[in-house]
């Protein structure tokens, strides 16, 4: 029991908070002696919280099995900043599209994820540059180089969604259309490795990325890629750290970065992560998988703690959410099935309609990113992605489950309630001893269906940084490029979980022999 729950991020976060509480006493002395620098306001309680999408090596990515501990140039720079400010570093990982909303919702002090400095982003956030970079257009080996961006006219180009490349390519397209040429066809993918994969499998002509990431990919993929053009775009020359708008914080951050640059710390880290190394030698430890199915990669994924951890999160989120959903939905279904009209009934009808209508993904994003803007309590440490997902999915699922329960309760003959009350049974006994056992039989198959659906829907929670099975798979794929093997391993996990519950359903249904005359007779014989 303990070991199972200690794997959950909620528990881990609690431990982290506990550790923090122990540490809180300590820094007071240190504070007094050093007190070299003023500390920016986004450092809270001695913790610098950073939001990152760990799928952009070598800036931010997961090297090992533990997906909640990304590494890379960005993470090391963040660590150096935290050290300067005598703070602990806490890293929150999530999809790229979730980074800026999380910054707004004050879930993190700053965002570092190999993000380009653009004027558009600076309208909403303050930015401090920390690394030079250039935009590159990359194709497969053997594709002839381009002399201008116009030559991409009419071609398929892949980019990571939520990045500034999308807007930038839009500008190129506007120019192409104005010149009477067909625009590029832009395909957006949620992660960097998927963007690269589109080029490798030949679905698109080229992808757009940054030189730094490209150098890493080229070392990883040996010589399968080739830079087609490095256009000179003035706005796209720097990676920046983003913070919420605050002139004072910006100055403090700028000073800290300048100091790290001056004392050679940044240069040391650049060398460590080969940020500017264009050679295709010194590749990452793990070379990308070759064309054939790599059984050892598959089995190592299958038996890795990362996948097991992801699967446990998927399973526990689905189970806990569904149990809460069923608990909420039964009383709601009883009220909705009653013939009397009441304010409560109208309110509950509204609840059910609203949460059946709203997309699950939207509900997740709403609870994680929008609600904390109104209720600060929801951006505190205890409100983990794990809890947020359970909250969103329980509410969402309860709305569907109400309909199943309503149907099941209506299917029980009203004479049952009449017969039971004529015997003097209490309301409680009428429901628990007479109506629920019969309704349960009817509700079971659709409920198991809902559960299986829920098990798969948990993968949506990767947008709010829950490290469930599919998020783990994507992060691991970003590191190794072993798409087929890792997807297959994830599939096995899903199948095992679903088949277990289907088996359970069959076992339980066997106990309903009372409902089937033939079965009862054959059992008796």
């Amino acid at each position: 029991m303990t070991s199972f729950f200690s794997r959950l991020p909620l528990m881990r976060r609690f431990r982290r908070v506990a550790a923090l509480a122990v540490m809180l006493g300590a820094p007071i002395g240190a504070h007094g002696t050093t007190h070299a620098e003023q500390i920016p306001s986004f450092v809270h309680d001695g913790t610098l919280t950073v939001c990152t999408n760990p799928t952009l090596p070598p800036m931010t990515f997961v090297k090992g099995q533990d997906v909640s501990h990304p590494e890379g140039f960005d993470i090391d720079v963040a660590q150096a900043l935290a050290t300067r400010w005598q703070a602990r570093l806490s890293v929150i990982t999530m999809d790229f599209t979730g980074l800026f909303p999380s910054l707004s919702a004050q879930r993190c002090g700053l965002v570092m994820s190999g993000i380009i400095r653009t004027p558009a982003r600076e309208k909403s956030f303050d930015a401090v540059s920390y690394q030079d970079t250039a935009l590159v257009v990359v194709g497969r080996k053997g594709t002839p180089s381009l002399s201008s961006m116009d030559e991409l006219s009419g071609k398929d180009v892949a980019v990571e969604s939520g990045t500034s490349y999308v807007t930038r390519l839009g500008v190129v397209n506007d120019a192409l259309v104005a010149a009477g040429k067909p625009p590029m066809i832009i395909q957006q993918y949620p992660t960097e490795e998927q963007v690269v994969q589109q080029v490798l499998i030949g679905r698109v002509f080229a992808f757009v990325s940054q030189d730094v990431e490209l150098f890493y990919r080229m070392r990883q993929l040996r010589d399968k890629l080739h830079v087609l053009i490095t256009p000179d775009i003035p706005d796209y020359r720097h990676f920046a750290i983003y913070i919420r708008q605050n002139a004072e914080d910006r100055t403090l951050l700028q000073n800290a970065i300048s100091a790290l640059d001056a004392d050679g710390s940044l240069q040391t880290l650049r060398t460590k992560w080969s940020v500017t190394d264009q050679s295709t030698k010194n590749g990452p430890d793990e070379a990308a998988a070759s064309g054939m199915f790599d059984w050892s990669a598959f089995f190592s994924a299958l038996t890795s703690t990362a996948f097991l951890h992801g699967a446990l999160i998927t399973l526990s989120v689905a189970l806990i959410s569904h149990i809460i959903a069923i608990t909420i939905s039964v009383p709601i279904a009883i009220v909705l099935n009653s013939p009397q009209q009441s304010v409560l009934k109208i309110a509950l009808e509204g609840y059910v309609s609203l949460f059946r209508a709203a997309p699950t993904l939207l509900q997740l994003l709403f609870i994680w990113n929008a609600v904390p803007q109104f209720f600060p309590i929801f951006r505190e440490q205890w409100f983990t992605p794990f809890l947020a997902t359970i909250l969103a999915l329980s509410i969402n699922e309860s709305a569907y489950q109400v309909e199943i329960n309503r149907a099941a309760l209506s299917a029980v003959d009203p004479g049952q309630e009449l017969g039971a009350s004529a015997l003097g049974l209490s309301r409680r006994d009428i429901y628990w001893r007479v109506i629920f056992p019969q309704a349960f039989r009817i509700a079971l198959p659709p409920t198991i269906n809902e559960f299986i659906n829920l098990l798969k829907i948990t993968s949506l929670a990767s947008v709010i940084s829950l490290q469930e099975l599919l998020a783990v798979t994507q992060i691991q794929v970003a590191r190794t490029f072993a798409f087929t093997e890792y997807y297959a391993a994830a599939l096995i996990y899903y199948l095992v979980m679903v088949f277990f519950f289907l088996f359970l359903q069959k076992r339980v249904e066997r106990r309903f022999s009372w409902s089937d005359r033939k079965k009862v007779v054959s059992n008796a014989a």
């Binding site: 017969g419 003097g424 049974l425 209490s426 309903f512 409902s515």
Partner: protein, 250 residues
């Protein structure tokens, strides 16, 4: 039967009415039932017979008028559970619990309501299953039993609460002729045990045999209350005469 004034009636109904929306199901009904008396309620369909006996155990609470059972005034403040321990009921469609065996159907209420132990309840249930003639069907589920057998279980289930009054709501209406004979036989037997009975039925011969008095209803009103020999040979009202003519024709 004796109608001793010293002995208060088991059931007393005064000016009782029941409405379903604007439809008057019971219209200011008055009658008494003495302890141990057997009443059969007759009348065309829709005349309020079922509604009448359902108000007696309050599974349909009445809207106005006065109801006393065993001297106790029954209204919306009465604990319905106490009332139903005293007044048992058998339905046209048996209303057995399909997920429970015949025996489990019988012991549920004694255990949950009267807090009997499983052993006490089982001993009692076996006795009544024996009384209704199906001791060997105790472990079968309702779906495995014939209609007649199911209705016997339903009667045993009601008797397990050891009520002082039994209400029967057309207990043979859903049965085939052969099963009717069996169930009527059991009711004959029960009538000899001196339990106060109110029965809605269309079984004329049965009514005539066991009833102390017949209540004849039409359009929510009690038209006449007479002993069976009078009712079947020379009813006081034309409506009763018409009803009898129709019943005898078929």
């Amino acid at each position: 039967m004796q109608h001793e004034t010293t002995n208060p009636p088991m059931i007393s109904v005064r000016g009782m009415s029941k409405l379903f929306g604007k439809f008057v199901a019971l219209d200011r009904v008055d009658f008494d039932v003495s302890r141990g008396e057997k009443i059969v309620v007759l009348g065309p369909s829709g005349s309020g017979k079922s509604t009448l006996i359902r108000t007696l155990n309050q599974i349909e609470p009445h809207d106005s008028g006065m109801l006393t059972i065993d001297g106790k005034l029954i209204n919306d403040k009465t604990d319905p559970i106490q009332l139903r321990c005293m007044v048992g009921m058998v339905f046209q469609n048996y209303n057995l619990f399909p997920h429970l065996s015949a025996l489990e159907n019988c012991i549920l209420a004694p255990m949950r309501v009267k807090r009997m132990t499983r052993l006490e309840a089982t001993t009692l249930a076996r006795r009544y299953l024996d009384l209704v003639g199906i001791p060997d069907q105790a472990d079968k589920y309702p779906i495995q039993l014939s209609g007649g057998q199911q209705q016997r279980v339903a009667i045993a289930r009601a008797l397990c609460m050891q009520p002082e009054v039994m209400l029967f709501d057309e207990p043979t209406a859903a049965l085939d002729p052969e099963a009717i004979v069996g169930v009527v036989g059991i009711m004959d037997e029960l009538s000899e045990q001196g339990i106060t009975t109110v029965c809605v039925t269309h079984e004329m011969a049965f009514s005539r045999r066991i009833a102390d008095r017949i209540i004849f209803m039409d359009q929510g009103k009690i038209v006449e209350i007479t002993p069976p020999e009078t009712f079947f040979t020379s009813p006081k009202t034309d409506r009763a005469q018409n009803f009898l003519n129709q019943m005898l024709r078929y």
